[in-house]
């Protein structure tokens, strides 16, 4: 029998008995960031491919929620900081080895871009919008002229944003559950899926919905594939990783993960979307809503379970 105890009474707040320093703010931000990345990705991609006619919602309607989403996300991030007054320090340096630094700067890029994109398409939701000031008119014209350039930048930036939300966790391999490079692609896929689902939600165009449905199904299949491989990786690795995987395979997070994330968030939407493609009438709210819910729960569960896994003690 091995008995390993801390005899000096260690009980650091937020650290012991297991790490719980990141609460709802971080997974919420990651979800919102992934969602924003997904929407902006499709907006930019289809603009570049010149498919503005086929994907009007993706390009012109859905991106309007992105600035709001990003602002909420940034607020959540700010709330999470323990030394809030110094947040501006993030923007005094770029640290290439720190995913958080990447994230801070990418957000710095993406947020204004999303505002710009929303501004140049503002007439699609507010037809009688009036800029009032001349220089704003000029700006709008300027940006509309260079829309393609903006689209390129936005597409690349949104990919970085989507990937970074996953890499952020996998950079902290001190948490065995996050010590897998699959987390990056998984979160990117989840973000794209959420973006596609949102666009579907807003879309009034049946063809567009169908296309996005197919894309979404594809992405979810990839996600399921990644999840299976993630667990295979854990179980074939060292004991700490096996213990970490155990949190989802019999541990406290088992039910919530498999039910909320996998079944409700991935499998059932796929089934519903396939049925929809086979001409059954399914209110789009259900699969889209479930996908969004699953994406949110994925972030929450990975964030909390990850903090519970540790190398020592």
């Amino acid at each position: 029998m091995r008995e390993e105890i801390i005899v000096s009474g260690r009980d650091n707040p937020l650290i012991d008995p297991h790490l719980h320093i990141w609460h709802w703010q971080i997974p919420l931000y990651l979800f919102l960031g992934g969602l924003a990345a997904g929407i902006l990705f499709f907006a930019g991609l289809y603009t570049i491919l010149g498919k503005e006619k086929s994907y009007p919602t993706a390009i012109r309607i859905a991106p309007h929620i992105v600035p709001i989403v990003l602002v909420i996300g940034l607020l959540a991030l700010l709330l999470d900081l323990k030394h809030k007054l110094y947040f501006w320090r993030l923007y005094t340096t770029i640290r290439l080895e720190s995913p958080m630094s990447w994230g801070a700067w990418v957000l710095m890029l993406v947020t204004p871009l999303s505002f710009i994109w929303s501004a140049i398409h503002i007439k699609d939701i507010f037809p009688r919008w009036n800029w009032k000031y001349q220089f704003l008119f000029t700006l709008e014209e300027f940006f509309t002229k260079y829309k393609l350039v903006i689209a390129w930048i936005m597409t690349i930036a949104s990919v970085i944003l989507g990937v970074y939300t996953g890499i952020l966790f996998s950079a902290f391999n001190a948490r065995p559950l996050w010590n897998t490079s699959i987390l990056g692609p998984l979160f990117l896929a989840s973000g794209l899926s959420a973006g596609a689902a949102t666009i579907m939600l807003f879309s009034k165009n049946h063809a567009e919905r169908g296309m996005l449905s197919r894309i979404d199904i594809g992405i979810i299949v990839v996600e399921l594939f990644l999840i299976v491989h993630m667990f295979m990786g854990f179980l074939a690795s060292t004991q700490v990783q096996i213990n970490a995987a155990g949190l989802f395979l019999g541990g406290p997070y088992t039910a919530s993960f498999w039910i909320f994330v996998v079944i409700l968030g991935m499998i059932i939407p796929v089934i519903l979307e396939i049925l929809e493609l086979r001409k059954y009438r399914i209110p789009v709210l259900i699969p889209a809503g479930l996908v969004l819910f699953g994406s949110l729960m994925l972030r929450f569960l990975i964030a909390f379970a990850g903090q519970e896994s540790r190398w020592l003690y």
Binding site: M1, E3, V7, S8, G9
Partner: protein, 754 residues
């Protein structure tokens, strides 16, 4: 603290309010005191911190070792940290965790702040605040009354603090010499008597063990390492570095056992058999120091005949220690002789035959020739500091011993439990105590069988408690006098014996907080009210200390600068010279392997093994001990030390836990053989380190006084489960390890119902 009335509570149901408002002292609580973490404005960022701020010398009061050290203050003049004085032989510049946590005692917001006078029945614990003048007047009046009606001898002092010296002077001036420290009858008394019987001198405090030069250290139940006798733990580490071996005899796998060459996992209460078997082997194999024995000892032939049949095989049946191991460990000791120490231990009041067990250990030391030899026991020397001149003390007409005619003749110090028992009036007692002054000791946790202590208290006409913290005993007092901590006062000059005679000064680092006062002030003010001021004729404590220091070749000014002064030895040498003629203070003038004094009092002249009661089925022997980060119950409320250990746990062997279905970390209650159940639940630690027939707990938890906000209700009290007291007939020591406990899974019915 909020602005409500000051509340003292001693049980979960009793609320004691102090009627009367206006706590002027509250204003102080906001001026940077209170929580330690709000102490300074910003912690050092790693780049700048000014060092060598003002420092004052002190010696620690958290345990009895009295390590000398320095108190540092920060830029705001607040106490910052306490570290050791490098010149000090007790600490060698390194304080133990309790000493390092000293600031926690100073900053403890639960400290007693003002004098309190009881306003309701004793036991109801209702107090009101009083001025010092009023409180001392009350005490003086009561003392004078007792003296008139019963005689001054009926006031006793029970003390375990440095302030006891001044209070003792007062009491002796008053006409009583009943001054007791619980550390005698409840702790080290048996070994002092045993060593007196054998070598003519006691072991002393700090113990005269030459651990740093020893080649073999034998610990009988002693748990150095968890028992944080600073100097001894340091020397044990030095000894390990030099390749010394350790032999530990303990039913529990102590930290010392983990560093031992031989660990003898002995069945509890059978140590004397093992010791006798060792003596047998060492004599029969001729491994003893024959020259030393020939020259210095008396009674070898009787001893040899006595242990003739006490073979390792015989001991094996009793102790469960294999004969081979007994022989190997004996050889290890013999190889190291004379640099071997059979450590006398400290708290030795276990089973009632403790003086005899200590005798066996002393005899073993004598056979191996370690007494007075390097690596064994050195001859300590102390500086003799004269008392401030005072009129001669009156001779008391009675002493506590008169309550016990023909008993405890060999007890050299006063028995605190003897005083306690003698307070309960019975027809046969010639001396009945009527007043107690209690300083720095929580008697309800110290003396076993606390119900008896409470009965005694109820028969008192005066109970004065002088303490820094609202320990359980304060709830029973008539008058509570708040003493300031050692960091805020002057005290007697430390003159403990050691390898070189040395003195240490305690001076205040900051003035006393709230209305607290040092013991010397209390004694002097009380003396004024008792017309005994002549015994405290100094004008200020500085004058007194300076005078004393000048008598021994120093001065207050010098000691304030250096803290510790070490002198050269003037009497004998540190060790016996080879072939030196020696006379010992025994009746034969030699080291008595056969004790003539014990024989003449009708006790066994040489130790004999007697079997002790074993736990009934379903019960386990209650063993207790120390943790290195706490001093008994004194530190349980100290914020810094509570951070290290906030509650004790009961150690249970996994086999036993399996039988009972107990899981690690589960909370349960302990009930002893007399049906007493622990007031609070205690956490179970399921560990392989404890034998299956015993459980183990750290002593000093389970505080019942709600005013100890951090200590109240944490852990369980082992002392409340010690109701069966095994009295040592030789010197009155109270053996505490004859209690057995079983596990219960809910509180007492009465508590469950309320």
């Amino acid at each position: 603290m909020n602005n409500s009335d000051y509340i003292i509570m001693t049980t979960r149901r009793d609320f004691i309010k102090i009627s009367g408002l206006g706590l002027g002292g509250l204003a102080l609580s906001t001026s940077g005191l209170g929580f330690y973490n709000h102490l300074s404005s910003a912690p050092p960022s790693g780049d700048e911190l000014s060092l060598d701020l003002t420092r004052t010398p002190t010696y620690c009061e958290i345990c009895f070792w009295k390590c000398a050290g320095w108190v540092y203050k920060n830029e705001e003049g607040k106490i910052w940290k306490v570290i050791g004085n490098e010149e000090d032989q007790h600490s060698n510049g390194r304080f133990c965790p309790r000493g390092t946590g000293g600031p926690g005692m100073y900053y403890d917001e639960d400290r007693l702040r003002t004098p309190l006078i009881r306003t309701d029945e004793r036991g109801k614990q209702v107090f009101r605040q009083a001025t010092w003048d009023e409180a001392l007047g009350y005490v003086a009046d009561k003392m004078k009354n007792i003296a008139e009606v019963h005689g001054p001898e009926c006031v006793a002092l029970l003390t375990h603090g440095s302030g006891g010296k001044y209070l003792g002077t007062l009491l002796k001036a008053f006409g009583s010499n009943s001054i007791a420290a619980p550390s005698y009858a409840q702790c080290r008394g048996p070994r002092e008597v045993a060593y007196h019987m054998t070598f003519g001198e006691g072991v002393g405090s700090p113990e005269r063990t030459d651990i740093r030069d020893t080649k073999c250290l034998v610990l009988i139940g002693s748990h150095l390492g968890e028992n944080m006798h600073n100097g001894q733990v340091q020397e044990m580490s030095d000894a390990i570095d030099k390749g010394a071996s350790i032999i530990t005899v303990d039913p529990r796998y102590s930290i010392a056992a983990s560093k031992s060459k031989y660990w003898l996992p002995i069945k509890p209460a059978t140590d004397i058999a093992l010791l006798l078997a060792w003596i047998h082997v060492i004599i029969e194999e001729g491994w003893y120091d024959s020259e030393y024995v020939e020259k210095y000892t008396f009674g070898f032939d009787q001893l040899k005949a006595h242990v003739k049949n006490m073979t390792p095989e015989w001991a094996y049946g009793i102790t469960t220690i294999e004969p081979d191991l007994i022989r190997k460990s004996a050889k290890e000791m013999a190889n190291a002789a004379p640099s071997v120490i059979i450590h006398p231990g400290r708290h030795v009041t276990w089973y009632g035959d403790d003086t005899q067990r200590s005798r066996a250990m002393a005899i073993l030391n004598a056979l191996l020739g370690s007494w007075g030899r390097r690596g064994g026991f050195y001859n300590p020397e102390a500086v003799s500091i004269p008392d401030w001149p005072h009129p001669p003390f009156p001779t008391p007409s009675r002493s506590w011993k008169d309550a016990y005619p023909d008993q405890f003749n060999l007890a050299y110090e006063t028995l605190s439990s003897g005083i306690c028992d003698a307070t309960i009036p019975t027809l046969s007692k010639a001396c009945n105590f009527k007043g107690w002054i209690v300083n720095g000791t929580n008697l309800l946790k110290t003396i076993p069988d606390s119900n008896k202590t409470i009965e005694a208290i109820q028969n008192l006409e005066l109970l004065v408690v002088i303490d820094t913290m609202p320990m359980a005993i304060t709830g029973w007092a008539d008058v509570v006098l708040p003493e300031c901590t050692y960091l805020e006062r002057y005290d007697t000059i430390r003159d403990s014996p050691h390898r070189k005679p040395a003195i240490a000064l305690r001076m205040p680092a900051t003035p006393p907080l709230y209305e607290t006062k040092p013991a010397y002030w209390i004694a002097k003010e009380l003396s004024k009210k008792l017309d005994l001021e002549d015994y405290f004729s100094w004008n200020s404590i500085e004058e007194m200390l300076d005078w004393q220091l000048k008598q021994v070749g120093s001065s207050l000014e010098e000691m304030q600068r250096i803290g510790v002064k070490t002198f050269e030895r003037t009497y004998d040498d540190l060790y016996f010279a080879p072939g030196q003629e020696m006379e010992f203070y025994t009746s034969t003038g030699k080291i008595e392997l056969y004790s003539t004094s014990l024989a003449s009092e009708g006790f066994d002249a040489m130790p004999v093994y007697t079997p002790h009661e074993e736990p009934p089925e379903g019960y386990y022997r209650l063993n207790y001990g120390r943790a290195p980060m706490h001093t008994f119950g004194r530190t349980a409320n100290n914020a810094l030390l509570k951070d290290l250990m906030e509650e004790n746990a009961v150690w249970i062997n996994p086999k036993v836990a399996k039988i009972w279905g107990i899981t690690n970390g589960q909370y349960l209650w302990l009930e002893n053989q007399d049906g007493i159940r622990s007031t609070f639940p205690v956490r179970a630690r399921v560990t392989e380190r404890i034998r299956w027939d015993s459980v183990y707990m750290v002593h000093g938890f389970g505080h019942t006084n709600k005013n100890l906000s951090r200590a109240y209700g944490r852990g369980a009290s082992d002392s409340e489960l010690i109701t069966k007291v095994l009295m040592d007939p030789i010197m009155g020591g109270t053996g505490m390890r004859g209690n057995f406990v079983t596990f219960k899974f809910e509180p007492k019915e009465e508590e469950a119902a309320s």
